[in-house]
């Protein structure tokens, strides 16, 4: 294939520039908002740059972003809930994933279909019955309740992806172990699991992010300020800024703080994450 001509190069770069602008508009708008110390309520005029550069909003949200709850508590809640949910979902799902990857049994096709369907349902479809069931068990508004709910969202996706990871291991590798007298469980524990660990880690990361970025179901379940997570606090700021209780810069700064770790994860693992999120078989 020939290299492209200069005019085409210029045209291409022009298109990229436009799309780049489109990408940066909301990001720049939020950065500008987050660093603006002049805001006491809502913005009233259009400005390209912050009127008064200040870190006040950042310092405020790093102290007590939501009501009187400290940032560290929010962060702790977020970590407890999302790590707990990811670990729970994978632990509970791993045997099912292995069964679907290694054996042929009646109902397998139908089971896979149900799994995929469950992985693609909107979270709200799980949340409503769980809300009632967990209310009956009286753990709805606790962090354990949230761990269970988020684990329920993440599990079908986790099983689907772990299955793909196990399937990518050639059957012969395990068969060699059987010849040496290993049981299925042993070969799973010492061969399949270690080989697919990187792949499972990525799945765990996605499960973690599901919990880390979820807010709506959280607000449905939690009614105590002490159990609020970071992303729930971000959403609470939206209401705070509309009612004029907080300056609009707070939302911007908390959103930036919250996003940075996620952005780093995505940039590092982009190709793998893309495959997982599109339910593609691992290549």
């Amino acid at each position: 294939m020939r290299k492209i001509s200069i005019s085409r190069q210029i045209l291409t770069q022009g298109v990229f520039l436009l799309v780049g602008l489109f990408i940066l508009i909301p990001i720049w708008s939020t950065v500008r908002l987050a660093f603006d110390g002049s805001l006491r309520g809502r913005p009233t005029t259009f400005t390209w740059l912050p009127k008064e550069f200040s870190l006040e909003a950042f310092l405020n949200v790093l102290d007590r972003p939501y009501q009187s709850v400290e940032f560290s508590i929010l962060l702790r809640n977020s970590m407890v809930v999302s790590i707990g949910a990811a670990v729970l979902a994978l632990l509970l799902g791993v045997s099912l994933a292995y069964a679907f990857a290694r054996f042929r049994f009646p109902g397998q096709t139908a089971g896979l279909f149900i799994l995929l369907l469950a992985a693609l349902l909107p979270p709200i479809a799980f949340a409503t019955p769980l809300y009632i069931i967990l209310s009956i068990l009286k753990i709805r508004a606790t962090l354990i309740g949230l761990v269970i709910v988020y684990a329920a969202f993440a599990m079908p996706f986790g099983i689907w992806n772990m299955r793909a990871a196990f399937q990518a291991i050639p059957k012969e590798v395990e068969e060699a172990a059987y010849l040496d007298g290993a049981s299925h469980f042993q070969s799973f524990l010492w061969i399949s699991l270690p080989i697919s660990l990187p792949s499972i880690a990525v799945t765990a990361m996605i499960a973690f992010l599901m919990g880390y970025t979820e807010f709506a179901i959280g607000w449905l379940f939690v009614d105590k300020a002490a159990n609020v997570t970071l992303s729930m606090a971000v959403y609470a700021l939206v209401n705070g800024q509309f009612s004029g209780a907080q300056p609009w810069s707070y939302l911007g700064s908390l959103a930036i703080i919250m996003s940075i770790p996620v952005i780093i994860i995505f940039i590092i693992f982009q190709e793998t994450l893309m495959e997982r999120l599109l339910f593609q078989e691992t290549s």
């Binding site: 020939r2 290299k3 492209i4 190069q9 799309v19 780049g20 489109f22 990408i23 940066l24 508009i25 909301p26 708008s29 500008r32 908002l33 913005p43 259009f46 509970l92 799902g93 791993v94 099912l96 994933a97 292995y98 069964a99 042929r104 049994f105 009646p106 995929l116 369907l117 693609l120 349902l121 909107p122 979270p123 709200i124 479809a125 949340a127 409503t128 019955p129 809300y131 009632i132 269970i148 684990a151 599990m155 079908p156 099983i159 992010l209 970025t213 709506a216 971000v234 939206v238 609009w248 911007g252 959103a255 996003s259 952005i263 994860i265 940039i267 893309m274 999120l277 599109l278 593609q280």
Partner: protein, 706 residues
């Protein structure tokens, strides 16, 4: 063979009986609608002229002159058998329907229209009894052909125009062409809107002529057809005779003015896709008890799956359907009766869809019987040990909640009856109801009783009507199509540009372009909210400052316009969604061997040809599953709509807000069972979409292995 013929005749007779039964019931029971008083008055004027043999009066009489007179004259003729009454009063078009029209005039006028509507069904049934059945039972059609409207006559004549044209296409006999032109003229003299079908004919004709390389005779014949149609139009339109040009201009320009400035059109403020809402609308909402059943939605659903087969059988019908829908999307006036221009091809397509569905089920069944896999007993036993722990967890966290949801959906469980529900009320009512011990109470919304009651499955019907009538259903589907489509265009386009040979800074651009994907979805939505909120958002402020004349002015007052609201919602959706498609397409492009392109460029293919004939066909099997997954995500889009509380909902956000006991934005919250029904409807739709994904994945695997 004889038996088959008898069966066909019998089915035709049954369809005709059903068609007349439903129309007769409707014409007797429907309450008076907008415009019926106007057309009745026009009919009365013509009846009076005929009675007094005042033939020259026809030159001046044409009440509501924006519509040509033929359909009104037919109403006049039908009134001759009725006693002469005082003229219906002249009222503005904004007036509420006049409920005091004399019944003995309404009845013959409606019966005539219904008879013409029935004739359309009869013609269609002769061609395809299944399509006839669809048209016979379509409630919106029944309504508008059984009232004193101007739809029945042009619907019939336009169908005749198409049938005679199709005969001409087959045997090239001039007689059919003349007949078609006559029907064209009669159609135009009844209602202008139906002339769009003439355009569909011209397109089909032109395409056929191009295939046969007979462009020259096509132009001659088409001009003859058009001129003859115009002559007939004038002949059937006595009102035009005294002053043709002025009166024609007045009546045509009236519609352009009406569509952009009439008060009722402005006030209704429909989105451009409103006609799709009318297509799935349940007419029982307007006129309860008139229709024993409404299956309009099913007819449309089958029609969607029948289009491709209909195209293979007779292209013209699909052109008719497509052009009519396109026109109705752009035409600013969105009255539901305009749908009558496309009912015939819709019914035909629906019939094809039904046939296809039936064949699909039959072949799936035979395949299933043929391909029974034999499982090894030993392997199954080994699998059980692995399956059990995971199955328990999956059942507890996923299946059990879903079953619980099914149970809740047949009760009136809500936040007021939460105590009773928790103490076993749900189980009591569901078990009692399903075993017949408890009678179903009819649901009344919103639910506020403090005890759980069994409602049976009647809730499904009313909730489905609710989401089709308020437009959530159609919006959700269109949202999926638009948002995914635009993401694919941008994502695929950028991937192709980035993967050109020798593009500078491509690594840098790619890193920048995936940034939105890395930002959590709800944060992305909030970033855009900070931009678009009316009078506060960054670009909304910019629009106030600079945008009056140039590019941002669509942001001024966007929240009042349904179309611009859609645009404002699509922008963040595209922003967030295209990077994943771009990555998937890039990965797919890398899989295509470079030699393929080199060989093609040696053969002198230009880049556009390579794109169309090589890149896209090679890329599609890889990309299509990704696109479907994105479509499913778009269908389920929740956080964006939760962050943007303006006008629109998806099923997911609607379910959330109806469930949430403390929800705002004017929702009746705590409606647990309504939310459960919506979730189940979502599951049903997703089953369809996931099956599609599975099929495409299989294609992809075959493609990879090939």
């Amino acid at each position: 063979m004889k038996f088959k013929t008898a069966l066909r005749i019998l089915s035709i007779l049954i369809v005709l009986a059903i068609a007349w039964g439903l129309r007769a019931r409707a014409l007797a029971m429907l309450s008076i609608d907008f415009d019926e008083d106007d057309y009745l008055r026009a009919g009365q004027e013509y009846a009076h002229l005929i009675r007094t043999s005042n033939w020259s009066g026809f030159l001046e009489a044409n009440y509501r002159p924006e519509h040509p007179p033929l359909a009104k004259i037919v109403i006049g003729v039908s009134l001759l058998s009725a006693p002469e009454k005082q003229l219906t009063p002249d009222r503005p078009t904004t007036a509420e329907p006049n409920q005091y029209l004399p019944r003995d005039l309404v009845r013959p006028a409606r019966t005539t229209n219904a008879a013409l509507g029935w004739l359309t069904v009869a013609l269609l049934t002769l061609i395809n009894p299944l399509a006839g059945l669809a048209l016979a039972t379509h409630a919106m059609t029944i309504k508008y052909v059984s009232q004193i409207m101007l739809e029945s006559l042009p619907a019939l004549t336009s169908f005749l125009m198409v049938l005679t044209y199709l005969q001409f296409k087959k045997n090239h006999k001039t007689g059919w062409l003349v007949a078609s032109a006559i029907f064209l003229g009669l159609t135009a003299a009844s209602k202008y809107l139906y002339c769009i079908i003439g355009i569909a004919i011209l397109v089909d004709w032109f395409l056929a002529a191009k295939e046969d390389e007979k462009i020259q005779p096509f132009f001659k014949q088409a001009i003859f057809w058009g001129i003859l149609g115009i002559v007939i139009f004038f002949a059937a339109n006595p009102y035009l005779w005294p002053d043709p040009l002025t009166r024609l201009r007045e009546s045509v320009f009236y519609h352009a003015g009406y569509s952009t400035s009439a008060e009722e059109v402005q006030r209704s403020n429909f989105p451009f896709w409103q006609q799709f809402n009318w297509l799935v609308f349940s007419v029982s909402f307007w006129s309860p008890d008139v229709f024993p059943f409404t299956v309009d939605f099913l007819i449309v659903l089958f029609a969607v799956f029948g289009v491709s087969n209909l195209w293979k059988k007779e292209r013209l019908y699909v052109l008719w359907l497509g052009l009519a829908l396109l026109f109705l999307m752009f035409w600013p006036t969105k009255w539901p009766q305009y749908l009558m221009i496309l009912m015939v091809p819709l019914a035909l397509s629906s019939a094809e869809g039904m046939t296809r569905a039936w064949q699909g089920i039959a072949s799936a069944f035979t395949n299933w019987q043929k391909n029974k896999i034999v499982y090894k007993k030993k392997e199954t036993r080994q699998a059980v040990a692995w399956l059990v722990p995971g199955l328990i967890a999956f059942s507890v966290l996923t299946l059990l909640p879903f079953l619980f949801q099914l149970g809740v959906s047949i009760t009136d469980f809500n936040s007021s009856s939460i105590r009773d529900g928790f103490q076993g009320g749900i189980w009591r009512e569901v078990f009692g109801g399903l075993t017949g011990q408890i009678e179903a109470t009819s649901p009344e919304y919103p639910f506020r009783s403090n005890e759980v009651h069994y409602t049976g499955f009647s809730g499904y019907r009313s909730i489905f009507d609710f989401i089709t009538i308020n437009g959530v259903f159609v919006f959700n589907i269109l949202w999926m199509i638009f948002s995914t489509g635009l993401q694919v265009i941008l994502g695929l386009g950028l991937a192709l540009l980035l993967n050109q040979r020798g593009v500078k800074f491509s690594k840098f651009w790619q890193a920048l372009f995936i940034l939105p994907w890395a930002i959590p979805e709800f944060i992305g939505a909030l970033l855009w909210l900070n931009i678009f909120v009316p009078e506060i958002g960054w670009l909304s402020l910019a629009a106030q400052k600079y945008g009056e004349t140039f590019p941002l002015n669509f942001l001024i007052g966007w929240e009042d316009s349904p179309n611009r609201t859609l645009l404002v919602l699509l922008i963040p959706a595209i922003w967030y969604g295209f990077p994943l498609i771009m990555l998937a397409a890039s990965a797919g492009l890398k899989m295509i061997p470079k030699e393929v392109f080199e060989a093609a460029s040696m053969d002198g293919a230009n880049s556009l040809q390579m794109l169309r004939h090589m890149t896209l066909p090679l890329l599609m099997p890889v990309l299509l599953p990704a696109i479907i997954i994105r479509g499913i995500y778009a269908f389920n889009q929740f956080y964006l709509f939760q962050a943007f509380p303006f006008n629109y909902q998806t099923l997911a956000s609607l379910s959330y807000n109806l469930f949430n006991p403390s929800s705002g934005f004017g929702f009746a919250g705590g409606q647990f069972s309504v939310s459960a029904i919506i979730n189940i409807i979502t599951v049903i739709i997703l089953i369809g979409l996931v099956s599609l994904f599975n099929r495409e994945m299989q294609v992809r695997e075959e493609f990879r292995n090939a």
